[in-house]
Amino acid sequence: MHDSRFTWWRLVLGAFVPSAVLVAAALTGTLTSATSAAGLRPLSAVLDTTADSSSLAQAIAMQLDQFGLHVSVREWQSTDLLTQEQSGSRQMYMSDWGSAYFDPYDLAAPKLITGGRGNRSFFSNKTFDALMTQAATSNNTQLRRADYFKAQQILYSQVPWVFGYYLDNVQVASSRLKGWQPYEDGMEPMARVTPNGSSTVTVALPTNAILTLDPTASYSDRSTEEVIQNVFDSLVTLSPGRTILPQLATRWAVSQGGLTYTFTLRRNVTFQNGQPFTSQDVVFTADRLLGLGAFQGHPSTRAALIDPPGDALTVGAEGPYTVVFHFQKPFPLFLYGLVHMEIVPHVYYQKVGAAQFALHPIGTGPFSYQSGSYSGPIVLARNSRYWGGAPKIAKLVFLPEPDPESTMAGLLSGSIDVGTDLPFDQLSQFENNPQFQVKEIPGTRAYFIELNNKLPPFNNRNVRLAFNYAIDWNTILAAIYGNHAHRMATAFLPSGFGFDPHIHPYPYDPAKAVELLHAAGYEAHVP
């Protein structure tokens, strides 16, 4: 057998020697070029992304390439990328982060405070940490705003990220829905809509499936919340202008120091099964959210909405129509979190158990659950005994429709009445059509490029700043999103509390970018 002489070491030699020669050649080449250009080294980096942002990442990489920077795009599955980012081994990644409070408390704070749960840029600044922590635990609005203004200055000068943009949330509805407002956190606009023609209204949800119908379960999903807020009420809700309005609570008092909140509950409210709503239901709901073993043996991930980790919030009833929440430390955003604490009926919930409740929920909201599974159409029927007045819509259907093209076809054919998350380049056919109404609300999700502040080359502030100057966001965003994307100067959303309108986003300035890169010791040239 002549072939058997082809042993493993020949294979290794055959593969290893040529590659070793190539590596050596490449290294020598790098060394000589590095020494030749006045001590400047070439800059290369990998821009990580998931499939969603892949085309945007490609556009950015192409722009950076024109400076002579070597930025290549790597596409990941989101879970893999998340693990990699957390391990600190990646350089720069397309990121986004949603905010529920209209406050930096759950955007800039978790993303940028040292060791914050979402801090994957490993940015660390003692002054910033102190300002953000003070703002999160103070009831003094003036002081909080001043703290946030200072924090924005720090971010602006330290540039932990390539600051990005936020998007308008554009929703399209048939013009037969009179009085329609786009869904926003805390709003259940369908209760106020008067439909012309059929009293059945179908809303397409841009998702494969909602996650649950139990508001005390662990979920963090906009589509799920939209369905739940039509079936359930919270103690308070938000107006479109983001002021807190009474819902199941008619009024409330905050103690001096902001540690105790006393709510007076609405009387004569019944759940959809006829049982009366009392303080026991509020206490039960809060216990399910806060209890350590309350949710199938683990705390609900929604607990932190009303109780920031590390606090000991206690809840108690004083008679059937008064509930008292007591904090150990002030939590100024409590009412905004309370918007998402939808009240479940304690008698029914305990009778059927969590698993059954999540499939057949009962609340006090304007619509009651009738039929449907999480991935199929979820059919809600008008709650004619709703305390706020019976809705005009008799049947409200939520249809999980993950494909935006199909949602558009459904809108055009009249089988779908409301659609969201439609492709931005397709909106014009609805905007110019009298059969539709198109409305937008500012999105609460920030998009940006997170830089690893601990690894070269982005451990150098000059490089981070240079990247902020080197990307022509306005051109890229206009091409992809039309006029529906808006730049952010730092990590603070204009719709949130404490936004400083006097800080403007870094402009596209190639000369400045090149100057900064040279200062950091990297090769670059003006495109």
């Binding site: 599955q77 989101s78 879970t79 893999d80 998340l82 693990t83 957390q86 982060w97 949603g98 529920a100 978790p110 749960r117 979402g118 059929s198 059945t200 179908t202 397409a204 494969n208 499936a209 996650l211 139990d214 379960a217 662990s218 979920y219 963090s220 350590l292 199938q296 043996g297 683990h298 705390p299 609900s300 991930t301 929604r302 607990a303 932190a304 909405l305 980790p309 698993a355 999540a358 499939l359 599974s373 999480y374 991935s375 199929g376 159409p377 049947k395 259907v397 249809l399 429709e401 993950p402 494909d403 093209e405 199909s406 558009m408 076809a409 459904g410 055009l412 054919s413 089988s415 779908i416």
Partner: protein, 336 residues
């Protein structure tokens, strides 16, 4: 005798299904990505304590073999466990998705048979005739059209512009129907609900066409080829010689033998359809198994994926068995 053989085959299926599930169990856990990170990412509770608690509750902090023991113990008790993400029993989720997928599978099969069998018979019996040429053209077209494109074109033309057929869902949202099996067409038949039946059938047409089109090609080509082969066998010549009409020769003799490979191939393809088709289910908002599985893979919802793979394994085994039984009926020479 046959019954005993069927039971024997079913008994053999159990270790096979278990093997499939074991492979799925280990393969899923070898995938990068952490379910806890997915569940807690971006939620306000992503603190180290919350991560540790959740990991402990899902038994993800324990060695693989002990996780496997929990899974198998549950399985022995007839439970597939709870979904990590949706917190309801996996059997509930699969039980909701499977009927939709089965209905769509039968719809696609019906469409494919309706078009494929006549085309195959014409093509095989009159090789190189006009009918065969048209058939060849249609099958090449059918097998080349990607489902997502065909689905969208059907929606845009027939639903959005002509408004003849609905674009999304299993049944009209205003239709009242008592759920019995979870398959709207069958439920409407069982409860004698004519408006619901019409609505369900209208909803079934477009996705069935999109899903069944590639299968048209399969049925046509296999039937045509096997019929063409049969045509020159001595027993067909005998049948002709004894004076049977061409029609009798075709239907009673030729077709009977040509069915066998067609049934086998169609059966296996049908097994694939019962796994759910993510693309068609997404385009037509069809709440089936394909969407559930893909979504669960992305969110690393191990119990749901394991449960679905178990269902896949059992479906394939059953379909194979069914195909074999049908073949023995068609050709008594073949035994199980």
């Amino acid at each position: 005798m046959t019954v005993i053989r069927i039971i024997h085959r079913l008994a053999l299926a159990l270790p096979l299904a278990l093997g499939v599930v074991l492979v799925a169990f280990f393969y899923l856990r070898a995938l990068p990505g952490d379910p806890v990170a997915v569940i807690l990412s971006q939620s306000a509770a992503e603190s180290p304590q919350a991560i540790a608690t959740l990991r402990a509750q899902l038994h993800l902090n324990e060695p693989l073999l002990s996780q496997l023991a929990y899974f198998l113990a549950n399985l022995v008790h007839g439970s597939l466990g709870y979904s990590f993400v949706q917190h309801v029993p996996v059997s509930t989720l699969i039980g909701q998705a499977l009927p939709a997928t089965i209905e769509l599978g039968f719809g696609a099969l019906a469409f494919a048979a309706l078009i494929g069998i006549p085309l195959g018979v014409i093509g095989g019996w009159r090789r190189a005739g006009t009918g065969d040429r048209i058939g060849t053209f249609i099958t090449i077209l059918a097998v080349s059209l990607p489902e997502f494109w065909l689905g969208l074109v059907l929606i845009v033309v027939l639903a959005a512009y002509l408004k003849w057929l609905p674009a999304a869902g299993e049944i009209g949202v205003a239709v009242q129907l008592r759920a019995v099996t979870g398959m709207p067409v069958l439920d409407a038949l069982l409860t004698g609900n004519v408006p619901a039946l019409m609505s369900a059938l209208r909803h079934l047409i477009l996705p069935s066409v999109a899903l069944g089109t590639p299968m048209v090609a399969v049925i046509t080509r296999v039937l045509s080829a096997s019929l063409h082969e049969t045509k020159w066998l001595p027993y067909i010549t005998v049948a002709r010689a004894k004076g049977l009409t061409e029609r009798q020769v075709l239907l009673r003799h030729a077709l009977r033998n040509a069915w066998i490979p067609t049934v086998t191939v169609t059966g296996l393809n049908f097994g694939i359809l019962l796994g759910g088709n993510m693309v068609v289910e997404t385009v037509f908002a069809w709440p089936g198994l394909g969407r559930l599985v893909v979504q669960s893979i992305f969110s690393r919802d191990y119990p749901v994926v394991q449960g679905a793979i178990l269902v896949y394994g059992l479906t394939f085994i059953l379909i194979n068995l069914l195909v074999d039984v049908v073949v023995t009926l068609l050709n008594p020479q073949v035994t199980l």
